[in-house]
């Protein structure tokens, strides 16, 4: 990769990734660095503010949006391993700050160079950097914010097609929500459970032994349901497989 096409990426360490699955961050960094990008992880970053925004607290969301913008605006690109957080940065920040003359432009500028990880790998890094092997039958869960707010559909599939030995089997009803929904999963647990169960049955029907996805929220929820019903399926974030770092236990397993 010629150096003029690379630069410095600010890696957005989403709250869930940071706490629950650091491997995703390392996998992302490995692929980016292999392709010649410099990866930095600002220490001062916290949450993108989506829980506040979806919970109706726009003031809090705005405060966190300003913090995130200040942390990341100096990089050539911001990359986040989550469609959900990225959609907040890309779509909600400009909306939240549009009436703030000091921040509206900065919000839009950051939005314009913010990328969901798999899309970035597909469009900016190029699939030729994927050189992993994963001889398994896998199915892919499209998370709703990635699918509908960012239009992520082809990128993960194109990247996975490069993985040696991997066979992708598509599930039915791919467009249907898994029932995670952030705080919804805790506020309305019985509804969330039913939607999870519906989704899990569709995933199991593919007879895949691995479930992949691009959003850790959905994956924790689905993995939690799968281990609860003792389904013999492993769950990873897609980038763990792409970087060859899916050799350890799946999410929620030992």
């Amino acid at each position: 990769m010629p150096p003029d096409r690379t630069g410095t990426v600010g890696l957005f360490a989403t709250c869930l990734m940071n706490a629950m699955r650091p491997n995703i961050g390392f996998a992302a960094a490995r692929l980016l660095e292999d392709a010649g990008w410099r990866v930095e992880v600002p220490r001062e970053q916290t949450c993108c503010g989506q829980p506040a925004y979806n919970g109706g607290d726009e003031d809090a969301a705005r405060a966190l949006a300003r913090r995130t913008i200040a942390q990341f605006e100096a990089f050539d690109a911001l990359v986040a391993p989550s469609g959900s957080c990225l959609a907040t940065l890309k779509h909600d920040y400009p909306r939240l700050l549009r009436d703030d003359p000091l921040w509206a432009g900065r919000a839009q500028a950051l939005a314009d160079k913010s990328w969901e990880l798999l899309t970035f790998l597909h469009e900016r890094v190029g699939p030729e950097h994927i050189r992993s092997r994963f001889p398994h039958r896998v199915t892919y869960h499209d998370s709703c914010s990635g699918l509908r707010q960012l239009g992520i559909r082809e990128a993960p599939r194109a990247l996975l097609a490069r993985v040696e030995g991997l066979r992708l089997v598509e599930a039915e009803e791919r467009e249907v929500c898994c029932g995670f929904g952030g705080t919804f999963s805790v506020k309305y647990p019985t509804l969330s459970e039913r939607l999870a169960e519906n989704k899990v049955q569709r995933l199991l029907a593919t007879r895949a032994d691995v479930v992949l996805g691009g959003d850790l929220g959905c994956l924790l929820h689905l993995a939690g349901r799968l281990t609860r019903i003792c389904a013999p399926v492993r769950v990873y974030h897609t980038v763990e497989v792409l970087a060859g770092l899916a050799d350890g236990p799946g999410i929620g397993q030992s």
Partner: protein, 468 residues
């Protein structure tokens, strides 16, 4: 109609465990989603139509007063009368007075969501009138003494077997539990009602300002009989139903049928205009239109204005996973599903309908299918925001949110607490998962919580000397 939105959680939970309801819902969802997909695949310009409809509706709404006045003048010109109802009570009073003046004993009704909204049936029944719903679905829920559970398929929550039982009980007959058997049975019963009715009340899908016509679409033709056979025809409609010209109605009709039932057009699209003229073979002697505001003009000036574009097609609920799991009754009032999660709180109170906008995953499929491009997830979030402003979220949640915000704005504290939490959670994990976590039992009742490894990404990353 009784407001039962406060019972959302128990009613939703009950619905999840009602086998008949679950069977009916699964069947309905398959039908609605598949048929719509097929119908729009045959219209390559469907997306362009949605955009055109969005733009046109917004234009109309910005001049709504003008088109309403034009419409009123046209209705008068063809011999009808227009009545303006500020709210539900006003609307009920107007219609009751019209029925009383007509000396009515029996009222036949076509399907109308506005009449549900204003609680019309109860009011007329209290006056001693016999009210007969003539739309098959409405007729079924009327017999069952239930409210509709879907805006275009009121009895979608019932299986054919349940309907057959209901008919047997009320008619003393034994109809076949098949679609044709049930339709034949209902038709025989309803024919008599049409001839008995003194007043026919219909809703309206559109009101056309240039001609003063009202448009209804049905698949059973019941609306036609309702409005032509009775002596008095009363149209009830929300003020947002007016469109300037026939071409506008055509645009919306193309979207409506495909989005609602996956048909190119509904079986009957009927225009009615004024009372019977000299020489007309049929038609009512009197023609009235009751235009209902009931909060709509207030909506016009606020953050929910876009909701007034709604053409009541039901696509949003057909594609909503929560609606698909619990059906319409759990929502506790007239409007269920995503559109109801915005509308109901505005009608009955942000407080009274607290759960509706919150019991949503914001997955966005509703907004994607809405034929007039209403950004439903954003509006739902906007309702949550209004609830936040009014301090309506549960006190415990408010405290957690306020605390979380203070912490999230302080990176050192935030990361310190996160490090502590993952260490604690790691010790609770067994075989990579936590089976029960007090304080998060909502999660762990149905799922394990995958256990973290004990170190956060940030600490591992910076410990590896990635630090500059």
């Amino acid at each position: 109609m009784q407001i039962r939105t406060r019972e959302f959680i128990p009613r939703a939970t009950f619905a999840l465990h009602d086998p008949n309801l679950q069977r009916a819902l699964a069947k309905a969802a398959d039908g609605f989603i598949g048929k719509r997909a097929k119908a729009i695949a045959e219209v390559p310009e469907f997306e362009a139509l949605r955009e055109a409809a969005r733009v046109r509706k917004d234009e109309i709404l910005s001049e709504l007063d003008l088109w309403l006045e034009r419409y009123e003048a046209q209705v008068r010109a063809v011999g009808g009368q227009v009545h303006w109802a500020r709210d539900a009570e006003d609307a009920r009073a107007i219609i009751r007075a019209l029925c009383a003046r007509a000396g009515a004993k029996t009222v036949a009704k076509g399907k109308s969501m506005v009449s549900e909204e204003i609680g019309l049936n109860e009011a007329l029944a209290a006056d001693g009138l016999e009210v007969i719903e003539t739309d098959l679905g409405e007729y079924i829920v009327q017999l069952a003494k239930e409210p509709p559970s879907h805006i275009i398929a009121p009895a979608v929550h019932k299986t054919k077997e349940q309907v057959a039982e209901l008919f047997a009980e009320h008619h003393g007959t034994t109809p076949e539990p098949t679609v044709s058997g049930l339709v034949t049975e209902a038709r025989q019963q309803l024919r008599r009602a049409f001839f008995r009715a003194d007043v026919g009340i219909t809703g309206a899908n559109f009101l056309i300002a240039e001609t003063g016509a009202s448009v209804i679409v049905t698949n059973e033709g019941n609306g036609d009989l309702t409005q032509t056979l009775a002596r008095v025809h009363i149209v009830t409609a929300g003020i947002e139903k007016v469109v300037p010209a026939l071409e506008d109605a055509t645009l919306f009709l193309r979207l409506l049928a495909r989005s609602a039932t996956g048909q190119d057009s509904e079986t009957y699209t009927t225009y009615s205009m004024g009372p019977r003229r000299a020489g007309d073979p049929d038609g009512p002697q009197e023609y009235h239109v009751v235009l209902v505001d009931n909060g709509r003009s207030r909506m016009l000036g606020g953050p929910w204005r876009e909701m007034l574009r709604c053409i009541r097609c039901g696509a949003c609920m057909n594609h909503c996973p929560v609606y698909g799991a619990i059906g319409g009754h759990a929502y506790g009032w007239v409007y269920p599903g995503p559109m109801g999660s915005v509308l109901t709180p505005l009608f009955v109170g942000l407080d009274t309908a607290y759960d509706l906008p919150n019991a949503c995953t914001l997955n966005g499929r509703c907004g994607e299918v809405c034929p007039v491009k209403i950004p439903l997830p954003e509006l739902i979030r906007e309702v949550r925001h209004a609830q936040q402003r009014d301090g309506l979220h549960p006190p415990a949640e408010q405290r957690v949110k306020a605390l979380w915000r203070r912490v999230a704005e302080r990176p050192a504290l935030y990361h310190g607490l996160e490090r502590l939490a993952v260490r604690l959670l790691a010790t609770l994990g067994y075989k990579g998962r936590i089976r029960r976590l007090p304080g998060l039992s909502g999660w762990t009742d149905a799922r394990d919580l995958p256990a973290p490894t004990g170190r956060t990404f940030l600490e591992l990353w910076h410990a590896k000397g990635h630090d500059e």
